[in-house]
């Protein structure tokens, strides 16, 4: 199965064309990202990763074009599109979701979603090597305003232990009891909170960003209508008391 994969959830833009062997698919309740779904393993035909704070809206489409060209595939050769609807920056997840939805409309290819933190965990595990059977891997990203996005994994090939969540570092600590390796841009805040509670946490790769190149082994789920996973409401308050009083009726 050939998939076009892309991610623009945080401070990078990445695209890959991967070839996966289809494995068992269990699509019972499509509620939690990656908790059920398809597990793939396979190879990367071509990929590209560019770190950037902004500019994903400029680079994504040209990068898709370049990577597909290097992989020598056209849209007709693909079996699906895969992207992360979050967690991520609001604009970042919308770039991926709008692109995936329009590509799906145009190509009629099925769409698969995965957690940006699962992609982060897969990258960490491939670069760190085995974490040890008794360790939990916490994939975290800085969510600003004293919060982090966090999702726990035993091992990227198995289903995640939790859904992606938005928590303060202190509350995030409450998720773990076993020895933990924490990665990603939320790692420093997580480690600091863990230290004050004397939890066994080891920080690795605190600058890690999700990268579509590592999508071959992660859990994905087929979706009919891809929707952003914001985990946070818009920052807006209803307005009151702005109009001049009227004669009551």
């Amino acid at each position: 199965m050939r998939l076009l994969v892309f991610d623009t959830s945080f401070s990078a833009c990445s695209v890959a064309v991967i070839s996966t062997s289809e494995t068992t698919s269990c699509r019972s309740v499509p509620s939690a990202l990656g908790l059920q779904g398809e597990s793939h393993s396979g190879s990367v035909l071509a990929s590209s990763y560019e770190p950037m704070e902004t500019g994903q809206a400029i680079r994504l489409i040209p990068m898709i074009e370049e990577v597909m060209s290097r992989a020598s595939v056209s849209f007709g050769d693909l079996d699906g599109l895969a992207t992360s609807p979050g967690p991520g920056t609001f604009t970042g997840v919308r770039i991926a979701v709008a692109t995936a939805r329009a590509l799906a409309l145009s190509t009629r290819l099925p769409v698969f979603e995965f957690s940006s933190l699962a992609l982060l965990a897969a990258k960490a595990q491939q670069t760190l090597g085995p974490t040890g059977a008794d360790h939990v891997l916490a994939a975290t990203m800085d969510a600003r305003r004293d919060a982090i996005y966090i999702q726990l994994f035993e091992n990227a090939k198995n289903p995640p232990l939790t859904k992606p969540q938005l928590l303060t570092p202190t509350r995030a600590i409450g998720l773990v009891s076993s020895p933990t390796i924490v990665v990603g841009t939320g790692a420093a805040a997580f480690q600091k909170a863990a230290d004050t509670r004397h939890r066994p946490v080891r920080m690795q790769q605190k600058d890690l960003q999700p990268d579509a190149t590592y999508a071959t082994g992660i859990h994905m789920e087929a979706v009919n209508s891809l929707r952003p996973l914001y985990l946070r409401p818009p920052d807006a308050k209803p307005q009151t008391g702005k109009s001049i009083p009227r004669v009551s009726q």
Binding site: R94, T99, A102, I244, V247
Partner: protein, 371 residues
Amino acid sequence: MPSVSQSPKGPPLLSLGIETSCDETAAAVILREPDGTGKILSNIVRSQWNDHLPYGGVVPEIAARAHVECLDDLISVALKEAGITLDDLSCVSAAAGPGLIGGLIVGLMSAKAIALSKNLPFIAVNHLEAHALTVGLTQGIKPPYLLLLASGGHTQLLLVHDVDNYTRIGTTIDDALGEAFDKTAKLLGLPQPGGPAVETQALHGDPARFKLPRPMRGRQQPHFSFAGLKTAVRQRATEIAPLTETDIQDLCASFQAAVVESVQDRCMRAFEIYEDLMKERLEITGKIFVIAGGVAANQKLRGSLEELAQSRGFTLHAPPISLCGDNAAMIAWAGAQRFALGLNDDLAAPARPRWPLDQNAPAAIGAGVKA
């Protein structure tokens, strides 16, 4: 000097347009004939007014979230209503600015994704240019002409020389005209959008009851200012609060009368500048005055500008009211006009929250970032 407009030529074009710059999500298909005339095949607009109602104005993040939820469905509906598929298209266009960046990105990514996967030319359309060229689609009016573009975000007087060629001669130094209507409606407790609400109330009001300023009247350059007028309305209203229904009607009528007089004065000055700049070419081109943008839907303003134009030998043209507000037919049309001239964009085109039509226009004195 810009030349008299050469109408873009070429084969019939089917153009898909996408508009997500503010609080309307829209998709449309238009047909452009080789002779440069156009026809709307579908025009789907979903307004987000209800989503923003509790906040008293458009919330950018709420707008962006709403766009991404429904844009692909609107595109499907627009294609279906036009009786075509993506494979029939000649080009795809999206508004790339000016506007709210979160929304612009949703429309832009969708258009680029379709362009890439269907191997179609892509055009990043300036939303203001789309308003400026709408009369070409609906009435076959070709440049050059003088344009008053008045909406919730912009109030400008422009010389439209041709597609891609504009001279800005006037702009607002503070609030846009539509914004002044919205803010007036809000302070009087009227529903949004404020333009239609104020206009309806003004129908039964006394325009002479409240003395309000006529901002910028008599100034040499045809700039606008509406922030002070809005404050004056607030002051008059506060003095007589609590307000009766009649008070509100009279305040709306007085506000609208002040707006009309101010805009008439500014347009009269623009007529003089236009005549002076065009000189002997006026014999060939005629004197055409176009009003566009959401505020062009205001009947009082339309009527008074029609009279003013006639008195000065100008013919007034305005798009039908349904195409004064934001829509995607105008984006599809502007995209087709640009494509016919070979003005395609590449797939790396950015969203441009600020994107003046006339890049060389100096900032108006006293103006903030909106000018």
